[in-house]
Amino acid sequence: MLEYLVPRSVDRLLSTGSRLELSKARCRGMGKRSAEGTNCRFSATKLGQRTARSQPSIGYLSQQKDATRRIFFWDFVPAFQDFFASDFLLNFLRGELRKIASEKDYDRVLSDDEVELVRGEGFRVSMGKLKARSDYSEVVCYASDFMCINLGPSSLQLEVFNIPANCDITFFDRSVRLSPACRREQEVGDIVKVNAGCDVLKFIRPELDTFQLFIVSLKPRMPLLWHFDAETLEPKYCTSANLMSSRLQMAMDILVRMGRVDAIPEVIGAARSKDHFVRWSAISSVLCMDEFEGTRLLIGALDDSHPDVRNAAAAALATVKLAN
């Protein structure tokens, strides 16, 4: 069931669209790959002259719940293209954006420059803005597949880089260097498809604030997001693809910053998480609040199942010994 995160009139439009079906034959023709996403490296297609539909086909996606077969994000590209070309977008841009700006209780703002429009079973649609007056300090290799269409008003220049094919992206490594793939222009109407764990886009600052519509898979294919310095392209840090893990990390950081030593038992409990990202966040948080307990956890982490935790624990123990 699609969850509609849009004002009522758009909700109605989508509800109508949910009755629209693509033929099963067409559906079968969509998937042409040997493994999930592996042949879907960066590509760009022009929306072109697809005929605008009065009802968007995105409702079709809500019907894909057959647990007996795997559903791939890229299988739905034609449906997304129909969605881009449908009256939904036109109507939304004509009227609903103004409504969003004036509605007191509109709370679907993801950030100051991104608004979520639709959330489906395995994807979300949002509208974002590339600012004309801002330089971005980092570029990111995302953990989820996504595609974006340039809504204008400016065309966009972008450089595409790739993670080297022999790199194991599941382990963060600062020695990795991006390889340039191409430089191209994304004209208004162009769709860019970005493959998780592979493609890294660097948009050149546009002359005017320029809007993009994003469709992002909600099923990450990689455990980590890699953040690179936008200038040097060197890896800076990684974050978890799992929103819950990132939130737990942030929550424990708050406890540290507010000196909640009494919360140490709960944080120690988080050090037993299945997620190595959470385990390390918990260990380092305890270390900040109680050196004795933190050192005890560090010693235990030398045998952690994840090499990043083992390496970080060894380095931290060396630092602690040096400080003492």
Partner: protein, 92 residues
Amino acid sequence: MAITFNSTTTDQIDLGDFLELVDVSGGEMIQDVLISHADHLRMLSNNRQFLTDIINKELTDIYDFQPKNNYTAQTIMLGGVSNKFYVRANVW
């Protein structure tokens, strides 16, 4: 346009009291109603425990941490009344 209040109260209230005060103050959360709670919000912010209390309590089950929170990782949902208002903490 943002409105700035210079509340100087040093009183403190709990999150539960704050939510109740907002809930009983009006049927519709229009701007004037919200403005009337500026002092209460300051009282809540004077309480240096409530945010970490919530985090600490929820950490007891890390696999059920903020289950209904669809915002980014920097947002902690604190509570509210369905279809009326909610309170959240953002960390930047």
